[in-house]
């Protein structure tokens, strides 16, 4: 698993991974705001992307999203995703 040294680095890595895994053409990490909504507005992701993000969290950070209710909260923005990763990673230490 990749271990970013701080939250800024984590957020940057997340953005790069999202761009790659979701095939977001012509978008750079700098274009994604930390607090901007990921779904419907902002990046305009859809339900298929939501499933892809669940896989991404597990693949790169070993972190599980157990159900849709948790998913809705966690996948709102880069900020919420990064916070969840830090919380869950801290639990397993």
């Amino acid at each position: 698993m990749i271990q970013p040294t701080n939250i800024v680095e984590l957020k940057y890595m997340l953005k790069s991974q999202i761009i790659e895994e979701l095939n977001l053409e012509g978008i750079k990490p700098e274009d994604i705001q930390d607090e901007a909504p990921l779904f419907v507005e902002g990046l305009g992701l859809d339900s298929i992307d939501a499933l892809e993000l669940v896989v991404l969290m597990e693949k790169y950070y070993g972190v599980r999203i157990p159900d849709e209710i948790v998913g809705r909260k966690v996948l709102q923005s880069i900020n919420t995703m990064a916070e969840y990763i830090q919380e869950e990673t801290a639990k397993t230490k």
Binding site: I48, L51, V54, V55
Partner: protein, 390 residues
Amino acid sequence: MKILITGIGAVSAIGLDAKENLRSLKSGNTGIRKSPAFDLMMGEVNLTNEQIVQRLDLPNKDYSRTTLLALLAAKEAWGSQKPHPRVRTGLVSSTSVGGLDLMEKYYFESLNDKSSNAFTLMTHDNGRTTEWIAGGLGISGTIDTISTACSSGANAIMHGARLIAGNKLDRVIVGGCDPIVQFDIRGFSSLNIYDPEICKPFDDARNGLNLGEGAGFLILENEHSISLTGTSPIGLLAGWNNSTDAFHQTASSTDGKGAYLAMSNALAKAELTPGMIDYINAHGTGTGNNDLSESMALKSVFGDSMPAFSSTKGFTGHTLAAAGAIEAVYCVMSIQSQAFLPNLNFSVPMKETRLTPETVFRPDMHVRHVLSNSFGFGGNCTCLIFSKVN
């Protein structure tokens, strides 16, 4: 032109022929259990490939399980019928898996040993698995395969009927077949819609689908064919329609527009009003999305006069391409038995619709017209209507 049904055959987790399937439906015994191979609840057919090859007395070859399941059901439906020089006969099958089971079996081999690569790539071809079925039945000429995911079987039946109605054929073997493969297990799991327990179609606490495998086949004939083959019709395919939801690749729209269009247009084709339907065999996979969407569509069509309905997927699991065909066989048997078929594992109606399916096998009903739904990925919605022959 009347499209008459003169043969049925079915193999699933609840029976190796149509009669055995009916006995299970009557007794309420599900075929869904924990698979030792895959550690998941699923509706497996109780025969290995080797056992099917022996049962059918086939030459010893590496067949796709798709073809083997299909041959069991198709041969049952075909029965003792024979080719006839003045009866134009064809085969319209359907599958979503095709030869993918063989591709999985030989996956690692195919990476290392290039000579097996061609075989595995060729066997993925859906059409080839149908050609093997045709060969097994002695059919040549019009041989076709439909592949529209979970509505495939119903679409194959519809296409066969249209070939007869369009005066291209007089008699056609129609149906669908799919085995359980890792591809689908991992696929549906990746979509988070696989119920770890036995599925609960139309229940408020439903949690997803279970996979199943099997095949269903019917023989459709026109009156010209029957006059020459001497078969007796056991049902009538009165109406059909295929329409598209156009909402999402995998999810159905909240109002069930595609389903509504398919049902309304099929009723119009059959020249029936909603009130004339006695029983509905629903698609009812047990997923949150399908069962809600289908319920909304049912309410739009039938209003406050909802006929008896059920999903039989609690018995068989979701048999994908085979579903529409196996369930067509069940609809014919519902008419033959004059019975409503049960929906297993139901206890609490959905709060959005309050619809309650039939939960036990109910004989001695008046069953003249039966409606069957099948919906697939790509928003593909098909409705078939079966009627009693006078």
